[in-house]
């Protein structure tokens, strides 16, 4: 853990807005999970969508995350970014966008990868569930 904690993600870790525990949505259409054993981290992302297929709109995204603070922050940021976008649009989100938005250090990039893996799975499932 760096002594110079990332200002880019610290506030988001302390007050995330997209935790599943805080979310009132009952029916989710896509769930994706990923692990990073080397960092002892786990992330789950859930999506609620309108309409089917890749044009379906994501009306809510939420996460559950166990791991270092940067994992929580990345998961929260990704959920924020995909809400109100179509599944197709959400697929365009990439690692670099997360790294830049949260000013991730090289040693923190695993968190972005972990969250993107979970998101990709959730998007695929949401698309097929509603297709």
């Amino acid at each position: 853990m760096s002594r110079d904690r990332g200002a880019g993600w610290l506030s988001r870790f302390l007050a995330p807005r997209h935790a599943i525990a805080e979310c009132a949505i009952i029916q989710w259409h896509g769930l994706g999970e990923a692990d990073t054993p080397g960092e002892d981290a786990h992330c789950r992302i859930q999506l609620a969508c309108e309409h089917g297929g890749d044009d379906g709109r994501i009306v809510a995204a939420a996460f559950a995350a166990f791991g270092p603070p940067v994992v929580v922050a990345c998961a929260d940021w990704v959920c924020e970014q995909v809400e109100d976008r179509t599944i197709k649009d959400a697929r365009s989100l990439n690692l670099r966008a997360i790294e830049q938005a949260l000013a991730l250090a090289a040693g923190e990039r695993y968190a972005a990868l972990l969250v993107m893996d979970a998101l990709d799975m959730a998007l695929a499932r949401a698309s097929s569930n509603l297709g």
């Binding site: 904690r5 935790a19 002892d40 166990f66 603070p69």
Partner: protein, 388 residues
Amino acid sequence: MSATRDVRYLDHAATTPLAPGVFEAMQQALLETPANPASLHGPGRAAAEQVEMAADTLGTLVNARPRDLIWTSGATESINLALKGAAEFVGDAAHLVSVVTEHSATLDTLAWLERRGTRVTRLGVDSAGRLDLDALETVVADGATLVSVMHVNNETGVIQDIEAIGAICGRHGALLHVDAAQSLGRLPIDCARMNIALLSVSAHKIGGPKGIGALFVRPRTGIAAQVHGGGQQRGLRSGTLATHQIAGFGAAARRVAETRDSEHQRLAALRDRLWAHIETLDGVMRNGERAHLAAPFLNVSVADVHGEALLVGLTEGALALAVSSGAACSAAKGQSSYVLRAMGRTPREAGASIRFSLGSDTDTAAVDEAGARFVAEVRRLRALAGVA
């Protein structure tokens, strides 16, 4: 200790705020006795008197003769001098015995010596963090030169039975070095009764300034100097004495000598109060057995929470807790506390552990706020992780 954020300082094992009277003693030494205490003229003698007064106070606190104290930069240097000095003095036949839960000042010095050919034996601890005295006696009887044990563990607060260890060393002719960085001013220390040959202490753990410590060296204990120069302090540690630092150490030692027993009781009660808050959570474990813990320490492992997230969550935010973790990095990478793992905790348990260490400025309100904040943070992180 912070002027800019609302912080509850519960990290007195790391360092303590200056005790009342310490700053004034240091200022007085700087302004009124600025000469070199090794000088033979009047101003030099005045500075030397400051040093002698501090040595008298510290010597009384640990039942040692003032002239047997060697001033150092802190406990780390004292430990280096004790271990390297003893090993060098004995030579090839040296056999040093210690414990796996020692501070890195000891473990790293032993590793350094081992790479240069010194025989080193490291003993384990039980689930309470205590050394097995029978195992120690077996090893010491086999021909140990020196046994090095910390009185109070810096992560857990576990107390080792120094008097019994001293007796074992006495029966088999081994020297006993005690790292008393965490016990000075917190527990009674009697170098004579405990058969201590070498004792390492630091001022900043008892309300003194950083950068000053001492090594007690019992008469006729063979150690070789590690810092060479002007031959000060009987040649064992050369260099001009820092009069103001030593005066500050003396003032702090005077203060803890007056308050130690009452503070022990007060802090033990506050520590138990803090635990009463925390134990309302499921999945929390107190590390060490209450009967063998120094009063200021509470070390807790938490299930279903990542260690780094817990430490950052507690130390940041609106009400921040200044607390420590043995190692709040990745349990999976083997970076969790080696002390707790030696006590049988899993890597994840050892990774998600927090050390609270209370001190003179800790009160009931601080403990209640810290307890509530800890419980809330653990619940928040478990909710974020999707753990009910």
